[in-house]
């Protein structure tokens, strides 16, 4: 008989010694959080006219400061070991964490510029989200020039979640981070100024599916907790190595179910097939700057978390999760590439392309090696810059009437005639997506495929290569459309890139080319290096013993 009365545990361990939070190591997170909170206060107390500027300055300064702090922490990591665990080791500050956080912050900074773009008092966000689309109320708000400056604090909270997601060192923190990241994004998705019905629909879909997937994630955590008796990654690792925590006999199925369900949750965030259905809808419906934020930062964060979970917590059971990821990676690369070919809307197409890219990164995850980690990290950073640039271009091309974005590809025909610079930029980004040498996409692709081949996953790489040929087809088709086709009957209205959007595109181009031509500094200095003995000793088929020294344990 289990008594229903829950026990009050005897005094928790906290009492004996005052817990020590290393505020310095947590400072990037704290800064972003503080800015978000201050942003809420600004919403409450600052006059309507000054809000946008205040919020923008705050947000940019906050993200910038957080980035600087992140950089400074690289220096303050201990020489020995990968890094340190902070706040009862619930947050891991190690090199992968800092790289992911730094990448997220930079990408978020660029996205913020895109979010802040404000032409003729018209941003990408609804004047009043609560007003029913098409109603008199909305009209009144539009004419009055209302703006949702809540966007900035929401973005800051989302960024906070993204920073914490790859850094979390136990499942509870990771779950919280997941939600902190997702909840603001659900809202942001529904705030588009044009095509508000699409936008609201995207928000509902994203929300329902996101909540669904996070429930799976959570149940997976519960199972793993049952198996291991702890949600801390290091304990889970130890428990997996030891065959369970000993309380439940023959608990192997718990672990397997848990692993699979956690995988579902993470793969959903990543957008891998068969959990990708939300991506095209959400990317299409969301305001484009938010799409850019999601396509870059969220992907980075989600993969960061995925890598940490599978490399650290489940590092001792590589052989169990590997086949699952193999299948997922193959499905992702092949199906998404094939479906993408039929798309007619640029944002949907980019969404499917993002799914395919997730598949490519998964091949590196499958490698389960230092090279795999580094390859995935590089790929994500490179892809992030490129994709933000691409979405920035999308924001500039508008339908001839009404001011909505020209989603239909047919309207993009002959864009190179009227705006060669824009078309050229998008062309470059598309070539980078396709993985043409001398762009960052190629180096990224090389890095992930190299890791996979070295780990004996050559068939996966062959599939990847074939699907990347398929993807090249639709990228090239867009280029053909823009450069070689006659302009469409109803030519789109191409906005002059304002200072902010122009900067975003410029940074995208610069990063795409620089990372393509001189990837050395990033690859050699910022990413984890395979240790010496691993480089020599590993047989291609023997990979899959996750190296121990990359993450904090």
């Amino acid at each position: 008989m289990i008594p229903l009365g829950l026990p009050e545990p005897t005094a928790p361990a906290l009492t004996t010694q005052a817990p020590d939070l290393d505020y310095w190591l947590l400072s990037p997170l704290l800064v972003v959080f503080a800015v978000g909170v201050v942003g809420v206060l600004v919403e409450a107390f600052v006059d309507r006219r000054h809000r946008r500027l205040t919020q923008l300055v705050l947000a940019l300064a906050g993200v910038g400061a957080a980035f600087v702090l992140t950089l400074l922490q690289v220096g303050s990591l201990p020489e020995q070991g990968a890094g340190v665990g902070v706040a009862f080791a619930t947050v891991a500050v190690d090199r992968p964490t800092l790289f992911f956080q730094g990448t997220i912050l930079v990408l978020a900074f660029i996205s913020l510029l895109l979010i802040a773009e404000n032409r003729d008092g018209e941003s990408a966000f609804a004047a009043q989200a609560a007003a029913v689309p098409g109603s008199e109320e909305e009209r009144a708000h539009v004419l009055a020039g209302s703006q949702h400056t809540e966007v900035y604090p929401l973005v800051m909270f989302a960024v906070l979640g993204m920073q914490l997601f790859p850094a979390s060192n136990d499942f509870l923190t990771m779950f919280i981070a997941l939600e902190v990241m997702s909840l603001p994004l659900y809202l942001l998705c529904g705030l588009a100024r044009r095509r508000r019905l699409f936008s609201q629909e995207a928000a509902v879909k994203y929300f329902l599916l996101g909540a669904f997937s996070s429930a799976f994630f959570l149940f997976g955590i519960a199972m793993v907790y049952g198996y291991a008796g702890s949600v801390h990654f290091a304990d889970v690792y130890a428990a997996v190595g030891a065959g369970g925590a000993g309380v439940i006999e023959d608990g192997e199925p718990l672990l397997l179910i848990g692993m699979a369900l956690i995988g579902v949750g993470l793969l959903f965030k990543v957008g891998a097939v068969p959990f990708h259905n939300w991506k095209p809808d959400v990317y299409q419906g969301a305001p484009t700057p938010i799409t850019a934020l999601m396509a870059s930062c969220t992907l980075v964060a989600a993969f960061g978390a995925l890598l940490r979970v599978f490399y650290v917590a489940f590092g001792a059971s590589v052989w169990e999760w590997r086949p699952m990821l193999w299948v997922v990676a193959i499905l992702t690369m092949v199906l998404a590439a094939v479906i993408a070919v039929t798309q007619r809307d640029i944002k949907r197409l980019l969404a499917y392309s993002s799914v395919v890219h997730a598949g490519f990164v998964l091949t590196a995850v499958v490698a389960a090696s230092a090279d795999g980690l580094a390859g995935a990290m590089f790929y994500l950073a490179a892809y992030g810059f490129t994709t933000i640039g691409a979405f920035a271009v999308v924001t500039l091309v508008r339908a001839p009437e009404g001011g909505a974005e020209a989603g239909d590809l047919a309207q993009w025909a002959g864009l190179a005639r009227t705006s060669p610079f824009l078309a050229g930029a998008l062309g470059l980004f598309l070539l980078a997506f396709a993985g043409i040498p001398l762009t960052s996409g190629f180096i990224g692709k090389f890095a992930v495929f190299e890791a996979a081949v070295a780990a004996g996953a050559t068939p996966l790489v062959v599939v990847g290569v074939l699907s990347s040929a398929v993807t090249a087809f639709f990228y090239v088709r867009i280029i053909v459309l823009m450069f070689f086709a006659e302009p469409a009957e109803t030519a789109p209205r191409v906005l002059r890139p304002g200072g902010l959007t122009g900067t975003v595109i410029g940074v995208g181009i610069a990063a795409t080319v620089l990372l393509g031509v001189f990837p050395g500094p990033v690859l050699d200095n910022l990413l984890p290096q395979p240790s010496a003995e691993a480089a020599v000793g590993t047989q291609p088929s023997g990979a899959g013993i996750v190296p121990e020294d990359m993450f904090v344990r």
């Binding site: 081949v453 062959v462 087809f473 053909v480 070689f484 690859l523 050699d524």
Partner: protein
């Protein structure tokens, strides 16, 4: 301090391309001049380099090695042997001629051809780079990146309504091949890393002591195939040649010259340099399939060429046939065969280049039509044009005294000693070559002058300057190929050494039949 000739030759056109691209659209004339000047300077640099080349020296000369991406053992490593040098020379020679020939072609384009010339320069940089690279990764980078300028040259500046489809076909074919090669390239790296030192340096990889020596047979065959498919698509070899006629037919003749004259050589060059030397065992295993494919290419290309109604497509198909000879020579694995193949690459560049250029002149004179039936009696109104066309055509069918003859002969000789039956079959191609070239000449140049062509002008001074060097070279090397052979032969010798193959012992005193019987037993 030694002069970094190769880097110079790569960087100059790249910088030139940037300059041309930055010149405003209104001053397109200036842009063209800058482009021409740039190509001429490159030609001078390459020429100077060629003069400094020592045929009896080490195999690779003018080498430079700088680390590029340390993590993957990637180097910026360049250097040339005889084969590469001749091909670089070919590129450097053809590009200014193309620029000259294309001077007025893009007048109607929106940017008045400025972009076209910039692309040509970019392409030149990459062509030189791809031949000069001695790092597999670097080679691959140039190999793939080269596609983009050509893609735009066909798709944006091409001719005819099919050019979008053609450019896309070209790009996708090449990309598919390139991606398969990427797997093989990664495989090479993985095996080298396994052997203790992850690197892409060609010199470290090849040979009996090289890092790839330990690759097991099956893996080596797969890797070979990865490279070979990419090169076969590029070369273009039957059955993956279908992009070429479309691409050549839809491109401006200048583009076609570079495409067929130089770009496709990358395929055969890659077979010789990478397929054979990195995986000699696998190459030996694949000899027969490749030879069969070569023979099919030779015959098929020739037969289909006969049936063409469009002269650009016809020339493209002849190239399919000629590339069959080159691959045949390469995979004969004899020194004559490979020398012949190497020489053929250069000579084919000259002859096909000349053919395309003159075809281009014809097309501009006839409202952009490349249909053979639209011509007739040209030699009466434009004798110089017709004459040069004839010379180029004859060189294409390997008339003795013109340069391709020497190479074709060497290929035959080299093949016959080891693979007599294929050699005999291949001769059919020669006969067919005579047929398609002469028949085309007959249809276009002889007979009554067509009305539309009555007022046709003969070659202008600029055009003469564009073609004359080629004709001169064709005749020069037809009569006296020794300088080229002197440069090529040592490289071939070393290649043969690397792949551990030697020519069959001369069968003096034994009659052919006996030898054959001996071989047959």
């Amino acid at each position: 301090m030694t002069i970094p000739w190769l880097t110079l030759a790569i960087a100059l056109p790249a910088v030139g391309a940037l300059v041309v691209a930055l010149i405003p659209r209104e001053r397109a004339e200036l842009a063209k001049r800058v482009a021409l000047a740039c190509t001429l300077v490159v030609l001078a640099v390459v020429g100077a380099m060629a003069l400094n080349f020592d045929p009896s020296g080490p195999r690779f000369q003018f080498t430079e090695v700088h680390p590029w991406i340390a993590r993957f053992g990637v180097h910026y490593a360049v250097g040339v042997d005889g084969i590469a040098l001749t091909l670089i020379g070919l590129s450097a020679l053809l590009v200014p001629l193309v620029v000259l020939a294309a001077w007025k072609e893009q007048e109607d384009a929106e940017d008045r051809g400025k972009g076209y010339f910039a692309l040509i320069l970019v392409l030149e940089a990459m062509m030189i780079g791809v031949f000069a690279a001695t790092d597999v990764f670097l080679f691959y980078v140039f190999f793939e990146a080269m596609l983009i300028p050509v893609y735009f040259m066909i798709g944006r500046y091409g001719r005819g309504g099919e050019r979008r489809r053609a450019s896309m076909k070209f790009l996708l074919y090449s990309l598919l091949g390139g991606l398969l090669m990427l797997v093989a390239v990664i495989g090479v790296y993985a095996y080298s890393a396994q052997a203790g030192n992850g690197t892409f340096l060609w010199a470290d990889l090849v040979g009996a002591e090289g890092l790839l020596a330990g690759v097991d047979t099956t893996a080596a065959r797969w890797l070979f195939l990865g490279f070979f498919v990419a090169f076969a698509i590029k070369a273009p070899m039957w059955p993956v040649h279908t992009w070429l006629p479309a691409a050549a037919g839809s491109s401006r003749p200048g583009t076609a010259v570079l495409l067929v004259g130089v770009l496709d050589k990358v395929g055969t060059y890659g077979m010789l340099r990478y397929c054979l030397e990195l995986f000699p065992g696998a190459a030996a295993w694949f000899v027969w399939p490749v030879v069969v494919l070569s023979l099919v290419s030779i015959i098929y290309g020739a037969v289909v060429a006969i049936g063409q109604t469009d002269m650009l497509r016809l020339i493209a198909y002849t190239s399919v046939s000629h590339f069959g000879f080159i691959t045949l020579g390469i995979f004969a694995m004899t020194s004559q065969g490979q020398s012949g193949a190497a020489l053929y690459m250069v000579n084919h560049g000259f002859s096909t280049g000349a053919l395309f250029l003159i075809a281009g002149f014809l097309i501009t004179r006839n409202n952009g039509s490349a249909v053979i039936a639209d011509y007739g009696g040209v030699q009466k109104v434009a004798p110089v044009l017709a004459g040069t066309f004839l010379v180029a055509g004859l060189s294409s069918l390997a008339l003795p005294g013109l340069s391709p003859f020497v190479s074709e002969f060497l290929v035959f000789v080299g093949t016959f000693t080891v693979l007599p039956v294929p050699a005999v079959v291949a001769t059919v191609g020669v006969v067919l070559a005579a047929l398609y070239i002469l028949w085309m000449y007959q249809r276009m140049m002889t007979g009554p002058v067509r009305e539309k062509l009555a007022g046709m002008a003969d070659l202008s001074g600029r055009e003469v300057w564009a073609v004359a060097p080629l004709i001169a070279v064709i005749i020069l090397f037809g009569v006296y190929p020794q300088p080229l052979l002197d440069v090529i032969n040592p490289a071939v010798e070393q290649t043969m050494q690397q792949i551990d193959v030697s020519d069959p012992a001369p069968v003096l005193g034994v009659d052919q039949a006996g030898g054959q019987e001996g071989a047959g037993e």
